[in-house]
C-alpha cells in the first residue's frame, strides 16, 4: 500500500542522483566465458566475516569445486577451487579495497571444460521448480553454507547467515535485487536476460529456507527486457516482479526496500528488522546451483566496460582470475585509459595494480578515460546544500565532512555520521568537488578507533 503511495508520489526514496549510465557500452554483449587463466589465486577471505583456513596443501591436486579453505565461525563462507589443477604455495594479495588477504594459487590443469559445458554447468540447463518443494529448509541453509555463497552485489555478506531463521525476527518477504543502479555495470542485467530461471528458483529456495511467503524481484524500469525475462521464467510460480524508477542508488538495500515495499529500515539496522531478506540476482542463481546441483560458488559474471577498454564484455569468470586476465580478454586498455575501477564508478575502488584477484563480490571493472575523469580541483564549500538535497539518507554531508576534517566527533555524532552508506551522491553533486565520501569514510574509521581506544 505505502509502496503504491510512494510510487504515486513519484519519489521512491528521498534524494539520489542521475549520473550518465553508459550501460549501452556492454548492454547488448552476451555473457562470454573467460578461458581459464594459467593460474587462479583464490583469496581465503572474500566476504564480510572471519577468514578461512586452508584445508589443502601445496602440490595437492584439486578438481573444480573442491573445498580449499573453511572456517568454523558462523559469519564466514568457505572457498572452493574454481578450476581443476595443482595447489601452489600460499601468497598474499591486496584486494582493491586495500585489504591484504592470503590467497591460494592454483595452477590450472590442461584439461578444462569447454565454454559451453561451463555455461551449462553454472547457469545453463534445466532448473526444475519441483526441486523447491523437495528441499528441506534446513538443508537449503546448509547447502548455501557449504557452497560458500555470499552476497554478490558488493557487500559480500555470507548468505546463510541472512537465511537462518530467527524466531525474534521473522521474515515475510524475500526481495530479489535486480536494480544494478551503478552506472556502466550490466552483469546483473545480462544474467537476468540470459539465465532468469536459476534466479527465480534460487529466490524461491531462499524464501523456503527463511520462511518468507512473498518473493518480489525489483528491477529498474530502464531494463524492461530483464523484468520480462524474469516474469516469463517465473512461469506461474509465486514470484512477483516490480519495476522501480531508475535512480542512483536504487540498488542500495534501504532504497530498494523503501521503494519496493514501502518499509523503512531503521538506521543501523538490517532489512531483517523489517521482515525482509534482500538477495542480489546472482546470489539467487548461486543458491539454485548449490541446492539443486550441489555446486559451490566458484564463478561469476563480471562486466568489463568503459571507454578506456578496447572491447567491453560481460564475462563469466572463475573467482581468483586476476584483473589483468579480464582486461586482456577484452583487448586491453585503450591508449587514453585513465582510471581502472573495481566495481562501479560510484562506489568502486580505483586500481593501481591489476594483479588483484576477482572475488565473489566483484561485479565489474570500469575503465574510464581522461575525458571521463575530469580533473576537478577541490575548492571551498559554498554551503549550497546540494549535498543535503541528494543524500538518500537525509544527512548533512558537508557538516559530516567538516567534522571529520576537524576530528570533531561530537559534531560527527550530532550529524549522525554512522548512518552514512557511502553511496557517493553527495560527492558526485558537489560543485566545489569536495571529496565528501572519502572524508566521511576516514572519519568514521578514526572515530571508531578513538572510541575503542
Amino acid at each position: 500500500m505505502s509502496a503504491t503511495m510512494a510510487r504515486l508520489r513519484g519519489r521512491p526514496f528521498r534524494g539520489g542522483v542521475h549520473p550518465s549510465e553508459n550501460k549501452e557500452l556492454s548492454w547488448e554483449c552476451r555473457i562470454e566465458t573467460l578461458p581459464p587463466p594459467p593460474v587462479v589465486q583464490v583469496p581465503v577471505l572474500q566476504h564480510t566475516g572471519a577468514p578461512c583456513s586452508p584445508v589443502v596443501k601445496p602440490k595437492q591436486e584439486v578438481r573444480a569445486g573442491d573445498l580449499l579453505a573453511d572456517s568454523s565461525a558462523f559469519v564466514s563462507a568457505p572457498v572452493h577451487a574454481p578450476v581443476a589443477g595443482v595447489v601452489q604455495r600460499e601468497t598474499v594479495a591486496t584486494l582493491p579495497n586495500g585489504r591484504h588477504v592470503k590467497v591460494i594459487p592454483i595452477q590450472t590443469a590442461a584439461d578444462q571444460p569447454t565454454p559451453e559445458d561451463l555455461w551449462a554447468d553454472v547457469y545453463g540447463g534445466e532448473w526444475p521448480l519441483d526441486g523447491v518443494e523437495a528441499a528441506e529448509p534446513s538443508a537449503i541453509v546448509s547447502a548455501i553454507r557449504a557452497a560458500g555463497i555470499v552476497g554478490q552485489g558488493g557487500a559480500a555478506f555470507p548468505t546463510h547467515v541472512k537465511l537462518t531463521p530467527n524466531p525474534a525476527k521473522p521474515v515475510d518477504t524475500v526481495l530479489v535485487n535486480g536494480c544494478e543502479c551503478e552506472p556502466y555495470l550490466t552483469s546483473d542485467h545480462r544474467l537476468m536476460l540470459e539465465a532468469p530461471r536459476p534466479i527465480v528458483v534460487g529466490a524461491l529456495l531462499a524464501a523456503r529456507a527463511c520462511g518468507a511467503r512473498r518473493v518480489v524481484a525489483a528491477v529498474e524500469d530502464h531494463k524492461p527486457g530483464a523484468s520480462a525475462a524474469l516474469r516469463a521464467a517465473a512461469d506461474g510460480a509465486a514470484f512477483e516482479v516490480i519495476e522501480l524508477p531508475t535512480k542512483y542508488p536504487m540498488g542500495g538495500e534501504k532504497q530498494t526496500v523503501r521503494a519496493a515495499l514501502g518499509r523503512t529500515i531503521p538506521t543501523g539496522g538490517l532489512p531483517l528488522d523489517v521482515g525482509v531478506v534482500v538477495l542480489n540476482v546472482a546470489t539467487c542463481a548461486a543458491i539454485a546451483r548449490a541446492v539443486l546441483r550441489g555446486r559451490p560458488l566458484t564463478h561469476r559474471v563480471v562486466t568489463v566496460t568503459g571507454r578506456g577498454i578496447r572491447t567491453p564484455k560481460n564475462l563469466l569468470v572463475p573467482v581468483g582470475a586476476s584483473y589483468a586476465d579480464l582486461l586482456a580478454a577484452c583487448g586491453g586498455l585503450a591508449p587514453d585509459a585513465a582510471r581502472v575501477i573495481a566495481g562501479g564508478p560510484m562506489m568502486g575502488f580505483s586500481l593501481g595494480s591489476f594483479q588483484a584477484p576477482v572475488t565473489k563480490g566483484t561485479s565489474g571493472i570500469v575503465v574510464l578515460t581522461a575525458a571521463d575523469v575530469r580533473a576537478v580541483e577541490e575548492t571551498a564549500c559554498i554551503r549550497c546544500g546540494r549535498c543535503v538535497d541528494v543524500c538518500p539518507l537525509n544527512l548533512v554531508p558537508t557538516r559530516l565532512a567538516l567534522a571529520a576534517r576537524h576530528k570533531d566527533w561530537t559534531m560527527a555524532r550530532r550529524f549522525h555520521i554512522t548512518a552514512c552508506m557511502e553511496c557517493g551522491c553527495c560527492a558526485w553533486v558537489c560543485p566545489a568537488a569536495i571529496p565528501l565520501v572519502q572524508l566521511i569514510r576516514t572519519g568514521k574509521v578514526q572515530m571508531q578507533k578513538e572510541a575503542g581506544a
Binding site: R258, T267, G332, P345, G352, C384, N394, P431, A432
Partner: protein
C-alpha cells in the same frame, strides 16, 4: 586503509599469453566516486550572471549610461579588491570562480542611478574585504558581502544612498524625477499603479524596479537549481501572511501585489537571499530563512521609519543562519543513528 597515494602510478602491463601487450597509459588512483556532475562553483556563478541578465537589461533600458556606470564601477572595484585581498592573504586569486563579479553586480543593481562613483567603489571594496575576505574567503562569510558593502556605503554616505538620493532630476532620466513608489507611499500615502510597478517603469535602485525581470531571472535560477526555490517561496508566502491583517481591516489600495512588486523584494528574494554561503543548508532551514526574510521586509516597511527593508532583512536573517542550521539538523531516514557510548 592502505591506498596508493593519489596521482599517476606506473601501470603494470595487462598481459597474458593470449593477448598482445597494450600500450601503457598512465592510470591514476583516486577515491570514489569516480564520476562527477557537471557542476562547479564557477558554473553556478555564471548561472547567476545569466539570471541577472533581465535585470541588467531593464536597468540599462531605464537608466541608460547611469546604470552602465554603476555596474562598471562596482564590478571593477569588486574584482580588483578580490585580487588585492587574495594577494594580501597570500592565497591564489580566485577571480575565475566569478563570485567577486557577482558580488559587485548584485551591489551595483541595489544602488540608485545617481549614486556618486565612490559609493559603488567603496561599497564593493568593503563587500569583498569586510564582507568576505576577513572571514576567510568564499564560503566562510556570515553576511551577504554585497549587503555588507551596501550597508557600509549607506552609513558612510547617507546623503548619497538615502531615500532622497533616488530623486535626481539632473540626470535627465524620467523615472528619477519622482520619489520611489515605496517612499511615495510611506510619506504621502500615494499608491503607484500596479502595472508600471510590476513591469518596472518606476523609480528605484537600478536593478530592482522590474519585479517581472527579477521573477524571470529568478525562476531561471530555481529551474537550474542554482538558487533554492524554497527561499523565494517562503518569502512570498510570508509576505502574503503579513498582508492578511490588513485585509481584515478593510485595507487600502496598496495591496499585496504592490508589496511584492515594489522595491527590492523580488530581487532580494530570488538573488540576494538565495546566496548559498549565507543561507541555511537544509530545505527546512531554507523555508524558515525565506519566511523570516519576507516577514522582516513587511515589518520594516510597515512599522519602521525606512520605506524599504530588504537590506536589513537579509543581514538580520544572515545572522540567524547558524541558529537555523543548528535547529534544522535533519533526522536520518530510518531514525537517529544509535549512539555508541
Amino acid at each position: 586503509m592502505t591506498r596508493s597515494p593519489h596521482g599517476p602510478v606506473p601501470r603494470e602491463a595487462a598481459v597474458t599469453a593470449s593477448a598482445p601487450a597494450p600500450v601503457a597509459p598512465a592510470v591514476s588512483v583516486a577515491p570514489g566516486p569516480h564520476l562527477h556532475a557537471a557542476a562547479s562553483t564557477q558554473r553556478m556563478m555564471a548561472d547567476v550572471l545569466v539570471g541577472l541578465a533581465p535585470l541588467v537589461a531593464v536597468a540599462v533600458a531605464q537608466f541608460r549610461q547611469h546604470a552602465l556606470f554603476q555596474m562598471a564601477i562596482a564590478s571593477c572595484s569588486a574584482v580588483v579588491s578580490e585580487w588585492l585581498f587574495a594577494r594580501m592573504r597570500g592565497r591564489p586569486a580566485t577571480l575565475w570562480d566569478l563570485s567577486a563579479l557577482v558580488t559587485g553586480l548584485i551591489l551595483a543593481l541595489s544602488l540608485p542611478a545617481g549614486a556618486p562613483w565612490y559609493a559603488g567603489a567603496v561599497g564593493a571594496a568593503v563587500a569583498i574585504g569586510l564582507g568576505k575576505a576577513i572571514f576567510g574567503g568564499l564560503g566562510q562569510n556570515l553576511f551577504n558581502p554585497a549587503m555588507v558593502g551596501r550597508a557600509f556605503a549607506m552609513i558612510s554616505f547617507p546623503a548619497a544612498l538615502g531615500a532622497s538620493a533616488y530623486v535626481s532630476p539632473s540626470l535627465g532620466i524620467e523615472a528619477v524625477t519622482s520619489a520611489t513608489p515605496l517612499t511615495a507611499f510611506k510619506m504621502s500615502g500615494q499608491v503607484t499603479p500596479i502595472g508600471p510597478l510590476f513591469l518596472g517603469a518606476t523609480n528605484g535602485s537600478i536593478g530592482e524596479t522590474s519585479a517581472l525581470a527579477a521573477l524571470l531571472g529568478g525562476l531561471y535560477l530555481c529551474f537550474r537549481r542554482t538558487a533554492p526555490w524554497e527561499i523565494p517561496a517562503g518569502a512570498i508566502l510570508a509576505m502574503g501572511a503579513a498582508a492578511l491583517p490588513g485585509l481584515a481591516g478593510g485595507g487600502t489600495t496598496w495591496t499585496l501585489a504592490h508589496d511584492l512588486s515594489a522595491g527590492a523584494f523580488m530581487y532580494g528574494a530570488f538573488f540576494i537571499a538565495t546566496d548559498p554561503v549565507t543561507s541555511p543548508l537544509t530545505p527546512r532551514g531554507k523555508w524558515i530563512f525565506g519566511a523570516g526574510f519576507g516577514l522582516l521586509v513587511a515589518m520594516i516597511r510597515r512599522f519602521s521609519g525606512y520605506p524599504e527593508g530588504v537590506m536589513f532583512a537579509i543581514l538580520v536573517m544572515n545572522a540567524l543562519v547558524p541558529l537555523i542550521n543548528r535547529g534544522t539538523i535533519p533526522v536520518p531516514v530510518g531514525g537517529p543513528a544509535p549512539q555508541t557510548r
